[in-house]
């Protein structure tokens, strides 16, 4: 069952990126997100599944559909970039090889106790500072870039 749902999600993801019209692409995207939400609920992560369905198939898709109503029904034509396929193949093979290189997981079949889990934002407040710094820098860069664009548009 899980394999079927995940395989369907991958197929829908590919369809969302290969459709020539915008609305079928958005529908494939919605279905993919909905299937992933269902999968999380089946995995007993009910809150995450509901979050996924509400946020993605609700909020984000409504935003996207609003964009589609402005942009139109057709995607612009694009040139195929062969190097992209090569890059993606290398990355996928690299990621698939990692489990064979790394030592086996010491907690196989057991639940990892909370004290042994990787600590995030608990011991060092500097981590939070770095994270917030990165977020602030991104927002600053985006704002400056947007102001620059708007300035040129007005002139």
């Amino acid at each position: 069952m899980s394999v079927l749902i995940l395989a369907l999600a991958v197929v829908l993801a590919v369809m969302a990126l290969t459709q020539k019209n915008t609305v079928p692409a958005v529908l494939s995207f919605v279905l993919m997100m909905f299937l992933l939400g269902i999968y999380y609920i089946l995995m007993d992560e009910k809150l995450l599944g509901l979050f996924q369905i509400f946020v993605y198939t609700g909020g984000i898709v409504v935003l996207t559909l609003f964009g589609v109503t402005v942009v139109g029904a057709k995607f612009p034509k694009f040139e195929i970039r062969p190097w992209a396929v090569a890059v993606v193949t290398v990355v996928i093979i690299g990621l698939l090889i990692i489990p064979f290189i790394l030592p086996p997981i010491p907690y196989e079949g057991k639940v990892i106790p909370l004290k042994d889990q990787v600590k995030v934002f608990t011991d060092f407040y500097s981590e939070i500072a770095i994270f917030m710094g990165v977020v602030a820098a991104s927002i600053l860069y985006g704002s400056i870039r947007m102001l620059h664009t708007l300035k040129y548009e007005k002139e």
């Binding site: 996207t64 996928i92 907690y107 196989e108 909370l114 664009t149």
Partner: protein, 102 residues
């Protein structure tokens, strides 16, 4: 344990699909879809790890990723609407060119 590997393999494939979209597509909408697929691949991996190993901290990061994805979606739609207003198309290269030409 097998279930985790199945989930991990599908997460890697989804990540690859998203990466292909980000590197090869040239319109904002498909790049936006690809970014969401990339984020969802990570969420799938974290959720699977949480289910199979009890990694509750990973699950917390998954919630943070969903919130960030929402913000990113709002910003992304704004950018591609702005691009459409300026250039009449949703192609990032043309927006860059239009800004640099002026």
């Amino acid at each position: 344990m097998v279930g985790f590997y199945i989930d991990a393999i599908f997460a890697i494939i989804l990540f690859g699909v998203g990466l292909y979209g980000v590197t090869s597509k040239n319109d904002f909408l498909k790049i936006f879809f690809s970014l969401e697929i990339l984020l969802n691949a990570v969420i799938l991996f974290l959720a699977s790890a949480a289910y199979h190993f009890g990694l509750t901290r990973g699950l917390a990061i998954a919630y943070v990723i969903i919130v960030i994805a929402t913000l990113e979606a709002a910003a992304g739609v704004l950018i591609f609407l702005l691009s459409y207003r300026i250039t009449g198309e949703i192609i990032p290269d043309k927006l860059d060119k239009a800004v640099s030409d002026e």
